[in-house]
Subunit: 247 residues, 2 copies
């Protein structure tokens, strides 16, 4: 499994991804699923991926090396002139990989559920966050729904539903993303440390934070402990149900 | 969708189910999914159901009216002499309904994912809680994992994972079940009020509480408000991440 979340706020973007992959329960490994692209001062893109690893790594390689056009030119992600065009391009590459690898993968019964988050900004344009589906189509985060998730998204959604909004402080959004990641890791062993994350301020074109949380990192360990303790305390503070002998 | 949860503790059993059903998004209705069976002083069974409503209602009708045996005798749920036999019998009825209705339902492409929780006690025997799968097989709650969920189970699992255990106070377990139900309702509109619930003390053979929470009930409204406020406070109390400008 995988869990990735992106949160777009007034002042910037947070994206994070776990790194656990599994081919069955007896083959667990660590692979980076948060990829960074860009040219200094021109653009910055972060891509988080979920689904068949061979498939998503191929998409990332094509985005870096380029998709061959009829005139022989290699078109790359960093060639795109707007985030909307970039999302269309990632979708096109997903479809391209389906066309070339899909039939053989389907023949051996491999799962081809792929989804991606693409966030970033191109100089002079808007900071945007998209979620791409396996058909290459996509939706965009807005002020109404400023976060998008891929992979094992349900366990970590209740805290986002309650606490994240477009006006959230950027580092508060990061903290909420980490709480959401913790809830997911706690309930699904297929999601695990390390966690890769970036914090990108609007118009900065370069992440203010680019960090990997390893097992045993004191801050994240403390966040997990505090969150568990707070949840236990929160339910203790709610009065007993007024039914039967509980009243 | 549906969400049902059962929690077995040292002193008793809590079971609850929402009541929302939907045939597509444009056909929402309220149906009871928590069924009670038993004979005063002899036995008490609670059955919570998830999945195709025509299918689960048929199972419940057969459990009440009886499955015809070769000698013409009608065997009912209340005829069972142990909870284990009762779980086997519910499984047998699920398979029976699959045999009679399954092929026609499959032909029209109806979803046949069915699961059930069966909890209760027979006089002189143990209080037990089972979860049945659509093949009629089942697992049982134990002191290690004292709660079982069916339907839309992921949103409401983090709080149970953290706070429920076999030694929990019975009304604390009820409160935690309601918090779990609230988290689910908040994130999936297919799960909704009213909520049916029972609280059964060990060896009582009769529920101490049998209650329906309707929309607007002050206790549940207050629980939802307090839980939301506590989650917001809990994340505010966690220090900001020590990365970048958040430090």
């Amino acid at each position: 499994m995988t869990y990735c979340v992106g949160i777009l706020t007034e002042t910037g973007l947070v994206m994070m991804a776990d790194t656990r992959t599994n081919a069955g329960l007896d083959n667990i490994a660590t692979f980076r699923k948060l990829y960074l692209f860009g040219e200094e001062g021109k653009s910055f893109f972060a891509l988080a991926t979920a689904g068949n690893l061979a498939f998503t790594q191929t998409v990332v390689s094509v985005l870096r090396e380029g998709l061959e056009r009829e005139n022989g030119r290699m078109e790359k992600l960093t060639d795109q002139r707007s985030m909307f065009r970039a999302a269309q391009f990632v979708g096109e590459v997903i479809r391209h990989v389906y066309e070339t690898d899909g039939p053989a993968l389907e023949q051996i019964g491999a799962s081809l559920d792929v989804s991606m988050l693409l966030g970033g900004q191109i100089n002079g344009r808007s900071l945007r966050l998209f979620m791409l589906y396996k058909a290459g189509n996509f939706i965009e985060a807005t002020a109404d729904t400023p976060y998008l998730q891929i992979g094992e998204h349900k366990y970590g959604k209740p805290i986002l539903d309650r606490a994240v909004n477009f006006r959230s402080d950027l580092y508060d959004a990061l903290k909420l993303g980490l709480i959401s990641m913790d809830s997911t890791m706690r309930s699904n062993l297929g999601v695990g440390l390390p966690i890769d994350l970036i914090v990108l301020k609007r118009d900065a074109l370069k992440p203010e934070v680019e960090h990997r949380i390893e097992a045993g990192e004191p801050y994240f360990h403390d966040l997990r402990e505090r969150w568990s303790a707070a949840l236990r305390k929160a339910h203790n503070d709610i009065p007993a149900p007024p039914y039967g002998k509980g009243a």
